[in-house]
Homo-oligomer: 477 residues x 4
Amino acid sequence: MTLKSKEQYIESIGKMKTEAYMLGKRIPDVTKNGFTRLALEGIGQIYDLSRDERNAEMLTRGEGSGRFNVYCSIHRSREDLVNRVRVARLVCQNTGVCTGSRCCGWDALNALWHTTFEMDSRLGTDYHKRLAKYATMVQGKDLACAGALTDPKGNRALKPRQQPDKDVYLRVVEEDRKGIVVRGAKSMIGGAVGSHEIIVQPGTGFSEDERDHAVAFAVPLNSEGVVQVVNAQPGGEAKLKDSFDKGNVRFGSSEALVIFNDVFVPKERVFMCGENDYAAEVVSRFVLLHRMVLGGCLAGCGDVLTGAAALLAEYNGLSRQMQDRLTEMTYLSEALYAQAIGAAYEGKASPSGAWFPDQLLANVTKTSVTRLPYEVQRLAEDIGGGMISAMPSELDLKSPKIGPLVEKYYRGTHGVTAEKKLRVAKLVESMVAGPGRLGALCLHGGGSPAAAQMTIRQLSELESKKELARKLAGIEH
Amino acid sequence: MTLKSKEQYIESIGKMKTEAYMLGKRIPDVTKNGFTRLALEGIGQIYDLSRDERNAEMLTRGEGSGRFNVYCSIHRSREDLVNRVRVARLVCQNTGVCTGSRCCGWDALNALWHTTFEMDSRLGTDYHKRLAKYATMVQGKDLACAGALTDPKGNRALKPRQQPDKDVYLRVVEEDRKGIVVRGAKSMIGGAVGSHEIIVQPGTGFSEDERDHAVAFAVPLNSEGVVQVVNAQPGGEAKLKDSFDKGNVRFGSSEALVIFNDVFVPKERVFMCGENDYAAEVVSRFVLLHRMVLGGCLAGCGDVLTGAAALLAEYNGLSRQMQDRLTEMTYLSEALYAQAIGAAYEGKASPSGAWFPDQLLANVTKTSVTRLPYEVQRLAEDIGGGMISAMPSELDLKSPKIGPLVEKYYRGTHGVTAEKKLRVAKLVESMVAGPGRLGALCLHGGGSPAAAQMTIRQLSELESKKELARKLAGIEH
Amino acid sequence: MTLKSKEQYIESIGKMKTEAYMLGKRIPDVTKNGFTRLALEGIGQIYDLSRDERNAEMLTRGEGSGRFNVYCSIHRSREDLVNRVRVARLVCQNTGVCTGSRCCGWDALNALWHTTFEMDSRLGTDYHKRLAKYATMVQGKDLACAGALTDPKGNRALKPRQQPDKDVYLRVVEEDRKGIVVRGAKSMIGGAVGSHEIIVQPGTGFSEDERDHAVAFAVPLNSEGVVQVVNAQPGGEAKLKDSFDKGNVRFGSSEALVIFNDVFVPKERVFMCGENDYAAEVVSRFVLLHRMVLGGCLAGCGDVLTGAAALLAEYNGLSRQMQDRLTEMTYLSEALYAQAIGAAYEGKASPSGAWFPDQLLANVTKTSVTRLPYEVQRLAEDIGGGMISAMPSELDLKSPKIGPLVEKYYRGTHGVTAEKKLRVAKLVESMVAGPGRLGALCLHGGGSPAAAQMTIRQLSELESKKELARKLAGIEH
Amino acid sequence: MTLKSKEQYIESIGKMKTEAYMLGKRIPDVTKNGFTRLALEGIGQIYDLSRDERNAEMLTRGEGSGRFNVYCSIHRSREDLVNRVRVARLVCQNTGVCTGSRCCGWDALNALWHTTFEMDSRLGTDYHKRLAKYATMVQGKDLACAGALTDPKGNRALKPRQQPDKDVYLRVVEEDRKGIVVRGAKSMIGGAVGSHEIIVQPGTGFSEDERDHAVAFAVPLNSEGVVQVVNAQPGGEAKLKDSFDKGNVRFGSSEALVIFNDVFVPKERVFMCGENDYAAEVVSRFVLLHRMVLGGCLAGCGDVLTGAAALLAEYNGLSRQMQDRLTEMTYLSEALYAQAIGAAYEGKASPSGAWFPDQLLANVTKTSVTRLPYEVQRLAEDIGGGMISAMPSELDLKSPKIGPLVEKYYRGTHGVTAEKKLRVAKLVESMVAGPGRLGALCLHGGGSPAAAQMTIRQLSELESKKELARKLAGIEH
């Protein structure tokens, strides 16, 4: 069995000595920095959950010594797709945040699995073989792979070839027998700072003379020339050390801009290079999976938030009065989950053997994901009361001078200490107002709301629906 | 093969000579009355669709000469539950209305399948055997079975035993070796007028001294003492003869109050008699199925309405401008469908071998069904324009005097005749404002919105969600 | 005082002997036809309410013998605009339907008051004098004036001059010293059948070579060549005679296509003729008033529906359980009202002395009107229960054979008779599903939802809002 | 003229040397601390706006040397109430945050104006005279008065007299000829740290033996025994120094728990002392004003957010595609504003001469305020794109090492620098996710959503609505 423990995972990341910056300075050791450590703990939780035998069926694949983490697997059946959604919910229930990394890498692996197979079949390339080998390596070493998609794009009204600075779309700047050199950046890479590898997918819509942008590959994040700019709020680091002011005391989220300053990629790690006609296919398969999966993620985070709101209601002696609001929170989270399961169940196998969800229902799930969690958030704030936006810090509570006053005036019902109440209220606050809040998870993950709606329009089969109406209205075509 | 054609079905109903009243008068022949005929055509469509070989897998079960209509079947697998939802969507796409009857009978059969099995196992009764025999008979003769559930209830603040008139809950008034005599009524029986049989389920919540209300059975609708009051709008009959003013020119909906005036039920058709502890179980299994199925029904009706709205946009030369609204209609219908599939997929087998959907997700689907279709309806009226509520009648169009003026001023884009435009506009009107409108289908089918919300509350497992929150907030229990 | 009673009004309409058709046949006497009589009763209610001294301040203007109905007045102050909204609510509270006629005539009078003043000032015409004289006549005789706006439009993708049949936009076909001859039609004219006069406004967006469409005028509805096609459902007439099946037993709504077959209009009744640059101004002033007023109308209808739902809850013994839903209904109706009052208060005087609401807030009110009433309707159906879509007819209740059974099984709590319950349930049904339902009132009155949104966009002053943001973000322009 | 400039105001606050704590430590000088300084700048903006002659009519009252800030005034007319809403919008447009203080003090002054008048009339007390004198003093010195209402409440299931610690409801612990001594705390006091005075209102629902809690008074915030615990996020202070990472670079929000450790209040500053029957009246008048005013506040903040979203759309070259979403944002903000104006217009004078908004419409406005801004926020995040939750810090941009890379990859359309884009994106982020986000402003200000709904229910006049329905359904009472 190749499954790493959280400790082994964190240690392995520490050894990589990646070039990561935060708040304008290089992070000496990402396992020690308060902010990034929390993100690593979040990804690490996936490692620990996977070693728990009770989760074996859900979180591992393969047998005996070949058993590996499901996050490195290819979906081989309808059940695997359903499992994908359940895994997302389970992990979010246990972390309360989007850990990013492995989840995006998983989807990238599956998207490329399909597309490289198509390319090899039609173009006689050997990308699929390279990818299969890469996948086996990743499974064997139980690596955390980030998935990269979004280019900075510069002026969106211009095409890639019209950009003053061509690097705003990542591209190949050199190519020889041994490999390629790439330049550019990918933005909003969830969990990059806690990943061993980054799987890079191309953008979409490249024409013949934009072929150098049609590139897919994977590299370790400590490769020469790979620079991460980890997004963080100033002061964030300070507050995260052993403090419950951060809300979620155990796990965190992180996103980074990952820059490729003329990075060399050996040939066997290149999975597309110039096949511009296939770039869109990678993207569309990736977001297809991601748009379904979000239903599970937001249901899981919704569960946590519902539980936290229920606790606050209890601490305030208002459980009965808040009952209908709590039920509505449950309804909203389960509606997301049910849609994701529906999208999974209606999925189909691709010729590569990889399964993908139903495209229409996955985009329907995503559209719901861009709406319902805002109501979940609103209800949590409603139930939590005014303190969600106005409460003292842990430092106030611990101050000898004013701590006793905070304790006196924030005590809850039936001996609930101010600390308990503040801890839960800060968890809620972090989920509705912090950088890892629901909105940040749900709105642009897997593409913009507008992109999902456009896909629904394209798949809405209006002509056949018109025909249904014509028959019932008694109209000949 | 035992599958009847629509014609055979209608003929068989005609021969039954049921005692049905409408608008205060007895209907001499329900196959000839304009209103009830349309309802029969709707149910008949299920018969015809089932004989279409392209639908064989979806709409029939069994092999060779034993092949029978899926509407008389027991759900034997997860796939059967998913199929249940797909059938509902298919039928509604092809009828545009709730035909009632067979659908409720199907759910009643499954609910009783489970409950009679439980009773036999625990109480040593032989209800399940009787029901199995009954099911085989129904399959063999391809009968349309209505399903009955709702008692009139009188004063809802009083318990059954406190009612001034005990008959407001249907009950056993006599019992002997050969059978029982029942008195009371069941309201809102969809498609009763077009059914061969009615399967009667008990209400819920009966105590020991209300045992005479805990009764389940099936009788032909032409049994002595069975009286139907078919709900109709005065004038409705007139307009339905060969007219497109009815909106949906081919199919109709019907509901009836079915009264049991001391009706004798032979022993082999009695499936519960006095087992008050099991009454609630029948109801909860029935609504469990129904609350899931509605997701399919409303998606199917939504498809028709989306198609009709798209036609009107086209006839008015506004297809492009209405594009986003049409996409939203598609999104809403598919969201319902996806949730229903999710509820089906997460279903489980009961000891009887019958499968039932996930209770939480089925109630989530139902809750969505009480909300989303109103937005679908609103969008259809928006796209359709002001004529939806204000347009001339077919009689105006056909009048020699004013017909040409109506034609002149209602003509559409690119040679679309006024008739075409009016036909589709009237179809939309019937689906948003007629008695068979979406709202009528979605709000109280399978129980009230409040009942579904109460079930969600009961299943919301707040304690385990609180535990998730406690862990992330760092709180000991 | 010139105020007519309802009886006098109805008698005066009867004497006009207008050429009105319904269901393909000419109506011999619109005061006797079951359907049109109800519409006349509705308009008549405005007459009766206006003679009630308690409403004098709200419903009349002028003093002593010069006192006249507010429906014939020009808004002379901010308070007049606020009063406009209150009148709409009061009337709808007392009729439960959109009576159409006088309300649209009122807005048309004010829109033309402004535009004729502008034309006279700039072009030296004498339209405003003609209109002032016309207004005085109408006030003196207390006439009900319908307001006409919407042309049939044919192919909406084509401009008026490109239409194969130019008459799809009403136009002047002849003109001489004495007056003009007009041909065309106006659709969706509320209450035309109960109006003395019709005030015709032009469409919008006519170019120089479409000047013959830029025409405004008023004629009595019994003018030679004026033909009405009253929109009705077949069978509707039958059911409306002395029956509570119609839901609202006292008042009705009506809409008609009004056709002008070469109708002569004397010069003094022509208020625009060829001034294509001013056509848009009439329309925009008319809809400006109407979009505000709808907030009052829908609040008034919402009050009735809330009351009806509260009665059903009471009859079913469920008042407490339905309390939150009833509160939400109140909230929604009051939100509409508050917005309309806001739009009125922020209004301004035009140079003509007529006051108009704030354009942005009036369109905001209209946008709310296209959304909130659907939720009001949904809640009413929810509270009303399943019988809203499935209940017996009055004819069933009165049948000697089945009437006692209907009584037995539909009786309510605490001695509420089946008749009472059915009457209220049918009122709700007529307001959520009949031709006079809320949706029909709210969606396209005063123009489509899209038109209101476009106006909001035009008035949204994004540049000044960007400037606010720039300042707070610390950005130089 | 008594109007202070921002500088004079800040200087005067600095001299007070209040006892305020943040993050567990005493703040040496609230005018120098990065966090509190921003809050002072926000309140200071009101001072500066009031001295701008263009705002004189809106922001000042009185004439010549007696001219004073409107924030210290009593509403003397309907127009004053409308002005109240406009002031709220104007100030929020110019600050982008809730500055708290003066706004709550203004409402408290008016609420007490009414209640003290009532008490004096009926009980023969002289509270109103004291208050009038206090108001004159405040006007003359142009003081910023915070308003206090919410007690910590401890276990909400218990009444004040049942609390283990009676101080969880603020109370009088001593009383003599010269004044009273009070103990307890008030939570969520907006802008306390930037206020000269705090006007304390009682809670509600005190019985005869809880009279010591029925106390109203005003004291300077540097009174002996007054301790503030300013709510802040750790690290917050650091980031606020000259950084655009804070989003809104100019103004901030602050809330505090204000503790009264046996504070002496001289008699002339006591406005209620033991009159428990009148406590509820103060509260209900205060929230009545506040619930209306929030419509103006959220409209103003909505304007800023709409402008910021429009800028981001422009910088990304997506203005056209985001047009409908921006229009929806405008609609939502204006709907809030229109409702608030409606509530103001329908207001009435109280016997004291102070005007108050319509109670029903004010609560309707508040209910809308708890819902619509969440959709505004969602749309802003949608338009802003994924960077709203994942962008580099100003420190990254200014770092010599990675700054150029951030600039390269975050540059916008047409020469928009990364700094511009980041500044606006951070402004949006602070308004949707920071402590001063819309949700924090709208949900619990002026009481909980549930409290507003309860008030609507109490005012919904169901009986008169039932009567409307009965008439139209033809039912005798």
